[in-house]
C-alpha cells in the first residue's frame, strides 16, 4: 500500500495541484484586455465564459483565409500564432521540515525555492471557424518533467432563433476533447480551475481526493475524453463527456505497471444554471463522474474493478464592479467507492468507502490591483487502514482520509498579466489527525505551508 501512496504523492507533485490559465494569446487574438475575460486571472468573467463556450474562436485580427470553388471556407487562421508563455517562480516553507528522502532521521532543507515552479507554453486560440484550442505544455520544476498539461480542444456552433429577427434565443452546441475532467468547465467551482489557483507543488497534500477532484486521487492528465455540451440563452448548461485512460509515459499499451487505470468509459456529466443581473452573476450547478478502474500497481488490468461514483454540487457568485470585485465559490463532492478489486489485491480493507469534500472561498480585489481570499476546505470519509496506511508524512496512523484547514491569500497585480501571491495553508487536521497523524510523530500543523509565488503570463 505504501507503493500506492508514493505513486499518488508523486502524481500530486506532477502539476495536479497547480492549475494555470492566464493566456495572453487570447488577448492578442481578440484585441481585448485580460480584464474582459478575467476578474483576476485565471477566474473567468461572464464574457470569458462566453468566449470559452464559443470555442476560443472570437478573433479581431487579420485572418489568413482560403475558400474552395463553392465558396466554402477551407481555412481561417490568425495571422499571428496564438502562442503564450507562463512562468511561475515560487518559494515554499512548511511548518516543520520534511524528513530526508533517504537518510532515516535526517531532515530535508528547510524551505524550497523553485526556479521555475512551472514554465508553460500555450497554444491557445482559434484553429478554424468554430474550432479552437487551449493546449498547455508545462515544464515542472520540482519533477524536472516536461509534458502535456491541461488541454481542451473544442468545436462550437452558435444558433440564433425565435422572434421577428430570429434572434430571441441563443444556443451553442459544442464538442470538447480534453484530458482532465472539468478542465472544459467555465465556472471556477469545478476542480480543474478551482480555488486556490496556484499552490505549492512540493509541500505535503492530503492523502486522497475524489476522482473528479484535482488532488492526489484525481484523474487530471491521466485520461482523455470526448464530450458534447449545450449552452442555452446564457442560462442553462448541460454536458456529458466520456473518459478513457490515457496515462502519459510508462508501459503502453497500459499494463500492470501503471496505477489507477480507467476501465471502459468513465462518463462525466454537468448541469448548471446561471442568472445575471446588474453587475452580478449567480451560478448553481451539479456535476459528477462514474468511473471503474483497475488498481494496477503490480496487479493485472483484468478481473474485478473499483467503482467510484462522484456527485457534486456547486455555487458561484460574482460581483464585477468598476473598482470592486467580489467572488464566492462553494463546492461539495460526495464520492461512493466500491473497491472490489482493491480488496482482492490487498490495497483496501473495506469494500465500500465514502469520501466527502467541501470547499468554500471568498475573494475580494480592488481595481484588479490588490486583493486576496480566504478559504475553508475539508475532506472526510470512512477509515481504511489499507487504503490510507501509515507512512511518514503522506500516510495516516489511523487509516483516515480526514483533513481540513484554511487558506489565506494576498495578491498584488502590478499589471493585469503579473501576479505576486503570498499564501498560507493551515491544517487543523491532516490524514486523520492533528498530532502524530502519520504514525511517525508528525503533526498536522507541521504541513502548514507558506507559499510565495511570482506568476507572469505573456
Amino acid at each position: 500500500m505504501k507503493y500506492i501512496l508514493v505513486l499518488v504523492f508523486l502524481a500530486s507533485c506532477l502539476g495536479l495541484a497547480s492549475p494555470t490559465g492566464a493566456v495572453p494569446s487570447f488577448a492578442r487574438q481578440t484585441g481585448m484586455a485580460c480584464a474582459a475575460c478575467h476578474t483576476v486571472f485565471p477566474e473567468l468573467t461572464p464574457f470569458g465564459r462566453e468566449f470559452k463556450l464559443h470555442g476560443y474562436v472570437l478573433d479581431n485580427i487579420k485572418q489568413i483565409t482560403g475558400i474552395d470553388t463553392s465558396a466554402r471556407q477551407t481555412l481561417a487562421i490568425n495571422s499571428l500564432p496564438p502562442i503564450s508563455m507562463n512562468v511561475e517562480i515560487s518559494y515554499s516553507h512548511t511548518g516543520a521540515p520534511l524528513p530526508d528522502s533517504t537518510i532515516k532521521g535526517a531532515l530535508a532543507k528547510d524551505g524550497d525555492l523553485l526556479f521555475p515552479d512551472q514554465v508553460s507554453l500555450f497554444y491557445a486560440g482559434k484553429i478554424a471557424d468554430g474550432l479552437g484550442a487551449f493546449i498547455q505544455l508545462t515544464y515542472d520544476g520540482s519533477a524536472d518533467h516536461f509534458g502535456l498539461d491541461n488541454t481542451d480542444i473544442r468545436y462550437a456552433h452558435h444558433w440564433s432563433f425565435g422572434g421577428p429577427n430570429g434572434n430571441n434565443h441563443d444556443l451553442i452546441i459544442g464538442i470538447t476533447l480534453n484530458n482532465n475532467p472539468t478542465v472544459q468547465d467555465v465556472w471556477n467551482t469545478t476542480p480543474a480551475w478551482g480555488h486556490p489557483y496556484a499552490s505549492s507543488s512540493t509541500a505535503p497534500s492530503p492523502v486522497t481526493s475524489a476522482k473528479v477532484d484535482s488532488g492526489a486521487g484525481g484523474f487530471g492528465q491521466t485520461v482523455g475524453g470526448l464530450g458534447v455540451y449545450a449552452w442555452l440563452d446564457d442560462h442553462v448548461y448541460v454536458e456529458i463527456t466520456n473518459y478513457d485512460a490515457s496515462i502519459p509515459g510508462g508501459a503502453h499499451p497500459l499494463d500492470s505497471t501503471q496505477a489507477d487505470v480507467v476501465n471502459g468509459l468513465a462518463p462525466y456529466w454537468r448541469v448548471a444554471y446561471e442568472q445575471r443581473w446588474d453587475r452580478n452573476s449567480l451560478e448553481v450547478g451539479a456535476f459528477g463522474l462514474d468511473a471503474s478502474t483497475h488498481p494496477g500497481a503490480g496487479t493485472p488490468l483484468r478481473g474485478p474493478t473499483d467503482k467510484y461514483k462522484d456527485v457534486a454540487a456547486d455555487v458561484q457568485y460574482q460581483f464585477i464592479g468598476e473598482d470592486h470585485f467580489v467572488t464566492f465559490l462553494g463546492t461539495y463532492i460526495h464520492e461512493s467507492q466500491t473497491l472490489d478489486a482493491s480488496i482482492l489485491d490487498g490495497f483496501a480493507a473495506n469494500d465500500r468507502n465514502k469520501l466527502n469534500t467541501f470547499k468554500a472561498s471568498g475573494e475580494y480585489y480592488y481595481e484588479r490591483l490588490v486583493g486576496g481570499s480566504a478559504s475553508y476546505f475539508g475532506t472526510s470519509g470512512g477509515s481504511d487502514v489499507q487504503l490510507y496506511a501509515a507512512a511518514p508524512v503522506v500516510g495516516s496512523a489511523n487509516g483516515s482520509p480526514n483533513s481540513r484547514g484554511y487558506i489565506l491569500e494576498a495578491d498584488y497585480l502590478p499589471w493585469l498579466n503579473a501576479k505576486l501571491q503570498a499564501q498560507y495553508i493551515g491544517y487543523q487536521r491532516f490524514n486523520g489527525g492533528a498530532t502524530n497523524y502519520d504514525g511517525s510523530g508528525r503533526t498536522a500543523s507541521a504541513n502548514n505551508t507558506f507559499y510565495l509565488l511570482v506568476w507572469v503570463a505573456y
Binding site: 481578440t30 484585441g31 481585448m32 484586455a33 480584464a35 474582459a36 461572464p46 464574457f47 462566453e50 472570437l58 479581431n60 485580427i61 487579420k62 465558396a71 452558435h158 440564433s160 421577428p164 429577427n165 430570429g166 434572434n167 430571441n168 441563443d170 445575471r276 443581473w277 446588474d278 453587475r279 464585477i320 468598476e322
Partner: protein
C-alpha cells in the same frame, strides 16, 4: 426593425447609398451576408444584449440609440481615438476589423430596437436630476443637457440618446470625459464644473425615463 431591412441598409451602405427608401427594394442579401451580420450582432449581443439592452452597466444599452452616434463611436473605437479604459479593454479589439458597411448595418439594427424601459430611483435625486437635465446649472455655467440631447433625452444625430441608459455607465462616461480620458470636445466644456453628486442625480433621472 426586421433584419431584412437592416440587410438592405447594410448592403446599401456597402454601395454607398444608405437610404431607408431603398430598403424595401434590397431584400436579396446573400446568405453569407445575412449570416455575417447575424453573427456580428450576436457577438455584440454577448455584452450589449442581442436587442441592445445590456444586463451589466459596464456595457451601455444600444437599443434606440441614434445611428449617427453608434457609427461615430464604432469608428472612434476602430481608429482608437476614443481611449477611455473600457474602450481600450473591450472595444478597440471588437471594432478593429469592422468594415464601414458592417458598422452601418449595426447602427441601423441597434437604433431600430425598442428603447429600454425607464427604471425608478430616489425621488430627491430624480427631481434634482430632472432640473439639471432640463435647465442646466446656471451658476456653474452648465447648460441644459436637453438642449443637445433632446427634450426627452432621445438623442439627436451625433448627440447620443441618454434616456433609459444605465446610471453607472452614464456616471462613468461623465467622469472619463471630465478627466479627458475620453475625448468629447463639446462635453469637456459643458461638464467641466459638474460635481459628482450632480452627475449621480442627472444619471439617475436619465435611467428613469
Amino acid at each position: 426593425m426586421k433584419l431584412h431591412h437592416v440587410f438592405a441598409l447594410f448592403i446599401g451602405g456597402a454601395l454607398g447609398a444608405i437610404a431607408a427608401a431603398h430598403a424595401a427594394d434590397v431584400t436579396d442579401a446573400t446568405p453569407s451576408q445575412i449570416a455575417a451580420l447575424q453573427q456580428t450582432i450576436a457577438t455584440c449581443g454577448t455584452c450589449h444584449g442581442v436587442h441592445g439592452r445590456s444586463v451589466s452597466p459596464t456595457f451601455p444599452n444600444l437599443a434606440a440609440q441614434t445611428p449617427a452616434y453608434i457609427e461615430a463611436q464604432l469608428h472612434a473605437f476602430k481608429n482608437q481615438t476614443r481611449a477611455d479604459p473600457d474602450a481600450q479593454a473591450y472595444m478597440w479589439g471588437m471594432a478593429s476589423q469592422l468594415s464601414d458597411a458592417t458598422i452601418s448595418g449595426l447602427a441601423v439594427y441597434f437604433s431600430g430596437q425598442s428603447a429600454p424601459p425607464g427604471s425608478g430611483g430616489n425621488a430627491t435625486l430624480l427631481a434634482q436630476g430632472k432640473q439639471i437635465f432640463a435647465e442646466g446649472v446656471p451658476d456653474r455655467q452648465i447648460p441644459a443637457c436637453a438642449s443637445c440631447h433632446g427634450a426627452q433625452a432621445q438623442g439627436n444625430g451625433p448627440f447620443p440618446r441618454l434616456a433609459g441608459q444605465h446610471t453607472a455607465y452614464l456616471i462613468r462616461q461623465l467622469l472619463v470625459i471630465q478627466s479627458a480620458l475620453r475625448t468629447a470636445p463639446v462635453m469637456h466644456g459643458v461638464i467641466k464644473e459638474l460635481s459628482r453628486s450632480q452627475m449621480e442625480a442627472v444619471a439617475t433621472y436619465l435611467e428613469s425615463i
